[in-house]
């Protein structure tokens, strides 16, 4: 198909937004164009982390001289003609946006020749202005040179990260495409030095080395399964090889790199019980399916897709992963046991302390056996929830002295009190403990602990705005956070109470917080923030607690003002009275 301008009604159906955010986006678009052009060799040269030069040379089909000027127009594409095509996209590009967007923020040179024309043509554009177009000699294929990127948008320039980071983003990006197209020879030069070179011989494992390092690449297991019209292939790590983050999990749909939380979740499900809490596998998964089974037109930079039958995709992925793991791993569960085995690895976030102010046993009111504190939504406050007063039998929310008996399902503690059995949700209980400590510290100033190295947190523009508005509140809570370029914040200190949690996580949870809660009231806002932070920092279900840790948690809970609910209002404990036990066991007649 020749290049043409899309009719307005088609153009308007294409997910719109910013195409070029950073040098890596330029590389992505140019590489995709070369791949769409059927190139078998792609040479990428980067200078000055892409800001000075991005050059991509391919040996693909080339652009006819008479169409060269059209290629840099907005909505000009050879890959799509009518709206219906949008549901059957077989190419990486389809918007006709990339070259136009790149051309408007740089000095662009485009040289191209098709195999069956004698001479090629050369086009020069500066900041979106077409300067000249003339015949030129060139080998078959296309060369695109992008110089002085963002020279006319200084705001963008300021938002770029360090050169090292931008370079790394480009490296990562090219590796990911190389992995998807092992039959294409990729060569990447950074400042004239080779950064990546693939053979084009179709060997994926050789490219895995560039993605994960030799040791991890060697260990990766192969996934290969076919489910109807869908094929799932690629590589996953054995359960013994994990990371503390998901960033080494990559997905491709019809060889297009995509981001999809739900796909990650399905992959993780495939590892069910084989991974420790907080550990994630590595993976590079290729999903191939008929183009009409997936909508790629949902995200301005084509980073996301929508499946027509998502459940089916997820289920297929999960079972493909499971199968690969079972085939290769002789002793599933090793990884878990290995960490369980050594009791001292877990952070002991609640160091036990003796608190003389526990209520005495007599103070504890007799209670009916039932799930207590069922309120779905009591107000968040340090004082006993209103429910206490509506129940005359419950003058005090406090709990009695509890003796730990053990842990159930790595999530609940069983404890004995003066009147029967208590089942305690360890996560909810710890949330409550942290929450009340925060509130108690607020009057005298919340201690904050500086970090050895500030942690950089990258946020979306919207999240960044939310966070920027809340910096003073955060400071009063012990977070020392400062803006560091667009969408980036540096965390310099975190509340001492959270010293056991990851600073990046702690900040992230705050942004999620702002999105959901829109309470204008400052005080309430602050408590909600605290509640959110505590939720993230509290010990998780799935963490094995030593007897010592169980005891410490119970001590701390006993000391709370409102120990029976977590700050979000869910119960922290269920009480089964001796009376109830007796009746259930038939030792006592029903009343």
């Amino acid at each position: 198909m020749s290049i043409h301008i899309l009719p307005a009604e088609v153009a308007s159906q294409i997910a719109a937004g910013e195409v070029v955010e950073r040098p890596a986006s330029v590389v992505k678009e140019l590489v995709e164009n070369s791949l769409d052009a059927g190139a078998s060799s792609i040479t990428i040269s980067i200078e000055g982390a892409g800001q000075r030069l991005v050059e991509v040379i391919d040996d693909g089909c080339g652009i006819p001289a008479e169409e060269l000027a059209l290629a840099v127009e907005r909505h000009a594409t050879s890959k799509l003609s009518q709206a219906a095509d949008l549901f059957n996209i077989q190419t990486l590009g389809f918007r006709g946006e990339a070259l136009a967007s790149i051309g408007s923020v740089s000095n662009l040179t485009l040289v191209s020749r098709t195999a069956h024309s004698q001479v090629g043509a050369k086009l020069r554009m500066e900041g979106g202005q077409l300067l000249n177009l003339q015949p030129a000699g060139a080998p078959p294929g296309t060369t695109v040179r992008v110089e002085a990127l963002f020279y006319n948008v200084p705001a963008r320039l300021k938002f770029l990260k360090s050169e090292a980071t931008e370079r790394r983003l480009i490296d990562n990006l090219v590796v990911r495409y190389a992995l998807a197209y092992p039959n294409v020879r990729f060569q990447l030069m950074q400042d004239k030095r080779p950064a990546l070179q693939t053979s084009g011989r179709g060997e994926r494992r050789e490219i895995l080395v560039a993605l994960y390092g030799a040791e991890a690449a060697r260990q990766m297991l192969e996934v290969n399964s076919i489910d109807g019209e869908m094929r799932i292939s690629g590589f996953i790590s054995p359960p013994s090889l994990t990371r503390s983050h998901r960033r080494d999990i990559f997905f491709y749909v019809n060889r297009r790199p995509v981001q999809d939380g739900a796909l990650s979740a399905a992959l993780l499900k495939g590892y069910h019980t084989l991974l420790m809490v907080g550990r994630y596998p590595l993976g590079a998964i290729f999903i191939e399916m008929p183009p009409d089974a997936v909508d790629v037109n949902v995200h301005p930079t084509k980073a996301e897709v929508r499946f027509r039958q998502p459940e089916q995709v997820f289920a297929a992925l999960q079972s493909a992963v499971r199968r690969a793991l079972l085939a290769h791993s002789p002793a599933p569960g090793l990884n878990i046991s290995l960490h369980w085995g050594s009791g001292e690895q877990r952070p002991s976030s609640f160091t036990g302390h003796f608190d003389p102010s526990w209520p005495s046993m007599e103070k504890f009111p007799p209670q009916e056996a039932s799930v207590e504190a069922q309120d779905a939504n009591p107000p968040i406050s340090a004082s006993p929830p209103a429910r206490a007063s509506s129940q005359p039998g419950l003058p005090d929310q406090r709990v009695p002295l509890l003796r730990p008996v053990g842990q159930i399902a790595a999530a609940y503690l069983a404890a004995e009190g003066p009147d029967g059995l208590y089942l305690i949700d360890q996560h909810a209980a710890h949330e409550r403990v942290l929450f009340e400590r925060f509130l108690a510290q607020r009057s005298s100033g919340i201690p904050s602990q500086a970090l050895l190295q500030p942690a950089a947190v990258h946020l979306s523009a919207a999240e960044a705005r939310l966070l920027a508005d809340q910096l003073p509140t955060l400071a009063s809570l012990g977070f020392q956070v400062e803006p560091f370029g667009p969408g980036v914040f540096l965390v310099r200190a975190i509340p001492a109470l959270l010293a056991n949690s990851n600073p990046e996580d702690a900040l992230r949870v705050l942004v999620e917080n702002f999105e959901e809660d829109e309470t204008p009231l400052q005080a309430l806002q602050e408590e909600r923030i605290i509640a959110r932070v505590c939720k993230r920092a509290a010990v998780k279900a799935g963490a094995i607690l030593s007897m010592e840790e169980q005891r410490a948690l119970l001590f701390d809970l006993e000391a709370c003002q409102s120990p029976r609910t977590c700050p979000h209002g869910r119960p922290t404990m269920i009480h089964l009275s001796v009376d109830l036990l007796e009746r259930q066991f038939g030792r006592k007649g029903a009343r």
Binding site: S337, T351, H353
Partner: protein, 382 residues
């Protein structure tokens, strides 16, 4: 297998290797100790796949063989056998039953076939790096406590060990503090080395290495992501931690404005007291560094305070250069580092209440300070 060993030797060997047993593993054989004849001696090994410990003990071997014995039961049993006696063990291979006789005691233990035990690497000690046990033990103790216990950042649960030229350096950090200890080697190494070893493995090593042993050999077999330590009759194998250790050099402050030199023991005692009162959640203690004048000496005032318990204040005399400063630290961190400083005096170097503090032992002139500890301050929000 038919062997006999002295009760004391067996008991000691079991107590050493049983630290690597993982009783709660889903792989039952990991709760066992491998007992095998090995070139005229008896080899005991245990592993949790991350850490493995082997100990060789003298034995009279009648028949060669091997099996794996439930660690807990075996240790408990051997501990109660009469000292000074020979423990006779014989294995019935078909039923994997180990008969243990000693004095009047006669026991049959159900074992698991040695085939199921994970293979443990065999090391070539001649390729290793020789270290002085006592020195290395002290080095370990001076850094391991600063390693993180949080699995969220696995790399920080390790200790970075680098060997270059004739210097060995150990470094550990947990996000809030950094401990670095260097030492000279008797001779320079040919091949530089850099490895992140789990802090837990080093702690075990420090525990195992006793005063009687003179040298310790460290081996990093190429391409195996493992480190092996050999000390006397004991060998400890640990997986290395994969990843990039943070570049800690850049964290170490180059200069300071205020330098206070205090008695290590007085400072430690003050911190211990303050810690009792600084417990609630955050461990915050305030240090008021006050330079002296013409007549009065400089002092550091250490305060721990808690809403519920009360407050405590201690004044420690100090030799102070530079301006005064009020700064707060996690007192547990202070206590932990002071606990591993052996010199009578210690220097606390600070510049501002939001910049890192550095603690170094104050050595005599010719003994250059090879240890330093960086602690990030705390702050009381408004």
């Amino acid at each position: 297998m038919r062997v006999s060993v002295l009760q004391e030797n067996l008991a000691r060997g079991l107590s050493i290797v049983s630290r690597a047993v993982s009783p709660r593993s889903t792989l039952p054989v990991l709760a066992n100790v491998l007992v095998a004849t090995d070139e005229g001696r008896l080899r005991l090994s245990a592993t949790n796949l991350e850490l493995g410990i082997t100990c060789w003990i003298g034995a009279k071997i009648q028949d060669e063989g091997s099996t794996t014995v439930p660690a807990r039961t075996f240790s408990d049993l051997v501990a109660t056998l009469p000292g000074g006696n020979q423990v006779e063990m014989s294995l019935t291979v078909r039923t994997q039953t180990l008969n243990v006789r000693c004095g009047a005691s006669n026991t049959d233990l159900k074992c698991i076939d040695a085939q199921e035990f994970p293979p443990m690497p065999v090391s070539d000690v001649s390729q290793g790096l020789e270290l002085n046990v006592m020195d290395f033990k002290e080095m370990i103790q001076q850094v391991v406590f600063a390693a993180s216990t949080d699995d969220a950042r696995p790399i920080l649960t390790g200790v970075l060990v680098t060997v270059k030229g004739d210097t060995i350096t150990l470094a550990a950090a947990d996000g809030f503090r950094l401990s670095v200890r260097k030492a000279r080697l008797s001779s320079p190494v040919a091949r530089p080395l850099s490895a992140v070893i789990p802090a837990r493995a080093l702690s075990e090593l420090a525990r195992i290495a006793s005063d009687g042993d003179k040298t310790l050999t460290m081996i990093t077999p190429p391409g195996r992501a493992q480190v092996i330590f050999r000390v006397g009759d004991v060998e400890l194998v640990s997986q290395l931690i994969d990843g990039m250790f943070p570049d800690y050099e850049q964290i170490i402050p180059r200069r300071c404005d205020t330098r206070a030199v205090l008695s290590t023991s007085a400072f430690l005692k003050a911190c211990k007291q303050a810690e009792i009162f600084a417990r609630e959640g955050s461990h915050i203690a305030k240090l008021n560094i006050q330079p002296g004048g013409e007549l009065k000496p400089g002092v550091v005032e250490i305060t721990g305070q808690s809403e519920e318990t009360g407050s405590n204040q201690n004044i420690v005399d100090a030799n102070i250069e530079g301006p005064g400063l009020l700064i707060a630290f996690n007192v547990r961190f202070l206590r932990e580092v002071l606990d591993v400083i052996r010199t009578p005096n210690v220097a606390l170097e600070t510049t501002a209440n939001n910049l890192p503090g550095v603690i170094r032992p104050v050595e005599s002139q010719d003994d250059q300070s090879e240890f330093l500890h960086v602690i990030m301050p705390m702050h009381l929000g408004s």
